[in-house]
């Protein structure tokens, strides 16, 4: 007699639920948005000017016949839209979190895929600071990768943040780069129709597959998208 067994969940969905819970417990709202995004929300809003190297079309997917649209290269476009809308609706301060598929046009290997997941968050208010960002990210990584995790902030540069910070985590004795973050540049806030004299906040965008790979020792990012049920071990 075959009992109806529960199906198995994809590890990334499993981890996403955990990750979302960490952030919703801190008061963040879940945000979702389009994968085929406008250049405006993917680049221009984020202070990435048309002549900026980040605009180079090598890494970004463009679609034939769809001018001014790109496959989003990060989920910062989602949190950007959400923050803009929250301000419009008078819901400030605000905090959003989004885990979504992003796309990069590069050759695939064990650590690179053309599609992967990013976790992106933003918190904007009257007093939100770098200290808050450190607290939030430290708490998040401890929940994901264990209490022994240590977090470090190192100086970096992104057009959409100032100060810009590269987040490193010490995992199993090694310092690993987790992703970029920083205080939203006043130009970004202005582009989102938010007054930078009144509000300030942080944003971060980190690779999500990577967290799963570290957490569980999954050796190859391509395994997530092969449709192989041997992946579902949880």
């Amino acid at each position: 007699m075959d009992e109806l067994k529960q199906g198995t969940i994809h590890p990334l969905s499993f981890l996403a639920e955990e990750a979302y819970k960490v952030f919703t417990d801190m008061g963040f709202e879940i945000a979702t948005g389009p994968e085929l995004e406008s250049e405006w929300y993917n680049f221009d809003v984020l202070n990435v000017s048309k002549d900026h190297p980040a605009r180079d079309m090598q890494d970004t997917f463009i679609i034939k016949g769809e001018k001014e649209k790109v496959l989003r290269t990060h989920t910062t476009s989602v949190t950007g839209r959400a923050v803009e809308q929250a301000n419009k609706d008078g819901r400030m301060p605000c905090a959003f979190i989004s885990i979504g598929k992003v796309f990069r046009n590069e050759a695939t290997d064990a650590t690179h895929e053309m599609q992967f997941y990013q976790i992106d968050g933003a918190m904007v208010g009257e007093n939100i600071s770098v200290a808050d960002m450190k607290g939030v990210l430290t708490h998040f990584y401890k929940k994901m990768l264990g209490e022994e995790i240590e977090i470090e902030f190192r100086p970096s540069f992104f057009p959409f943040t100032e100060p810009s910070i590269e987040v490193f985590a010490k995992f199993k004795g090694k310092w690993l780069e987790m992703g970029g973050s920083g205080m939203l540049h006043p130009n970004v806030l202005r582009n989102l129709r938010i007054d930078p004299k009144k509000f300030q906040g942080f944003a971060f965008g980190h690779g999500f597959d990577r967290i799963a790979m570290l957490k569980w020792g999954i050796p190859d990012i391509r395994l997530f998208y092969q449709g192989d049920l041997r992946l579902n071990q949880f």
Binding site: D2, I9, D51, A95, V136, S164, Q233
Partner: protein, 609 residues
Amino acid sequence: MLYSYNWLKWYIPEALDPEKLADVLTYHLAEVENVEHRVFNNEEDLIFDIKILPNRAHDLLSHQGLARELASLLNIKFIDPTLKYKIPPSTNLGQAQLKIKIETDKCRRYMGRIVRNIKIGPSPDWVVKHLESIEQRSINNVVDAANLVMFDCGQPIHCFDLDKVSGNGLIIRMARKGEAMTTLDNKNLKLTPNDMVIADDKNVLGLAGIKGGKIAEVDANTKNIIIEVANFDPISVRKSARYHGLPTNASKRFENELTSETGAPTMREISGLLVEYGTGEFEEIVDEYSQKPETRTLSFSIEKISKILGLKVSEKEIEEILIRYHFKYNPYPTSPLHKGEETGGGYKITVPPMRLDLEIEEDMAEEIGRVLGYDKVKGTIPRVSFTPKVNQTYAKIVWARNKLLNEGYSEVMTSSFCMKGKMEVLASASDKNFLRINLLEGLKESLKLNKNNLPLLGLREIKIFEIGTVWVPDEAMHVAYNDGDKIIELNLDDFCKDTNLNFKLEPRAYGLAPAFRMWPLFPFIVRDIAVWVPGEVESEKVYKVIKENAGDMVVRGPELFDTFTKDSKTSYAFRIVFQSYKKTLTDAEINEIMQKISEKLKSFGWEVR
């Protein structure tokens, strides 16, 4: 960029030992990608490969620039080389013969200097050593000087052979349609009106800010040269460099924007170097400085800095940084509103020309934050008065996922790209260059793969689903699952129709860390074995015998898949799946194992079927 430790020490003799230096850089400035130990002519050196990002490419892509920064960061002595450049003796060559004509506003400054009667030859050892330490080739004394000065002070230089220049001057203009140029490396360029060029009255002599042309090349026979120290619009240089596929050290510096104020000290440096060589008669410098930058000031308040960082910064700390970095400053007083508070007021600084990254208050927050060190910022968990709403899309996804999981379907994720569709992806690095119009194709492939692996999975049938985005051609979220070999696919909204989404996010096993085991990448072999035993013998016993004799390449089983009783005997049928992490197993190897198992079972008096 590569930096030689020995070269840096010319300017900061009290530099820290290299290991500490690497840490200081990483935590207060930029990522150190590599530190390599090298030996040149019996002298040891350490070469730092530092990733300078666009915001500091204005001033740090040079040894002097980095040394200056380190001197301020570490509060150590900086030996200013610009005070010691040898000045060329005055000549009686009369008025400068060189004519410079700037015909485009994309050139902000052009300094030209004719040097006559130079002797081309090898460079002094110290120049060769400096260049080789950062992987630059030595060519001849003049070309090396230009190269060296660029890596020393950050301003690119170009030299033309004066006698190969037609007429008596240089024109900086946009190229005309149809013009061409062969570069020093013999690359033929078809120029466009978007390219800024240096030309004489006949030919194009150089692609401005990027690469010189062959016509006026400095070679072993050159006797008279023109030294160019100029400043070009970053966007124009970047576009041209990309268009012609010519990323050079010069273009890299221009495209990140240089202040035109570096022109004068640079011209003095290269002139001084040639004087040291003992060669040349120097005409006066011709300086067409059409766009002199205005003095920039920046005001910031202590309160704002502290507020951004989430760290209380004191007047003392800030002033110490301003002094060390040579920012001329004036404090502005605490305003009446702030009287009595600890942090009121702020500063107005004069921004040094090279610090093009300092424009707004937030830039100072970064400057002060990084110098103090972000480790000083203590993490806090903020409480915001914000009431999150339920995200309807995510609620539907979770509901759909849970419904299917409960019905025994397992989740897969497949590629958003496929070989056919309506939306074509341009210049993709893979052959799957369309956006998928359905989940069906991907799911079919996954079904096939998993069906082949049924023995490994220990399942009787495959039930899978995916929830994901498709382009029909509008973007839509679909749910697809299989019913046998058929795929059923619907829009997420339709799938979730008529449900009351009582959404509560409860993750499956919050906090628990399940273990993951990677599977072997070699083919598997399945074997079944069935045995008759006397009625009272438990399947456990048979299982143990099989397991103990099956060896260590079993990935699944022995799994009991059939039992039946006849008369007083019971038949147990087990399935074993073999797979190796290291190689493809052969039938012969497995036959041997199965043989062993059979023998062992028979030794109990049981009948192997």
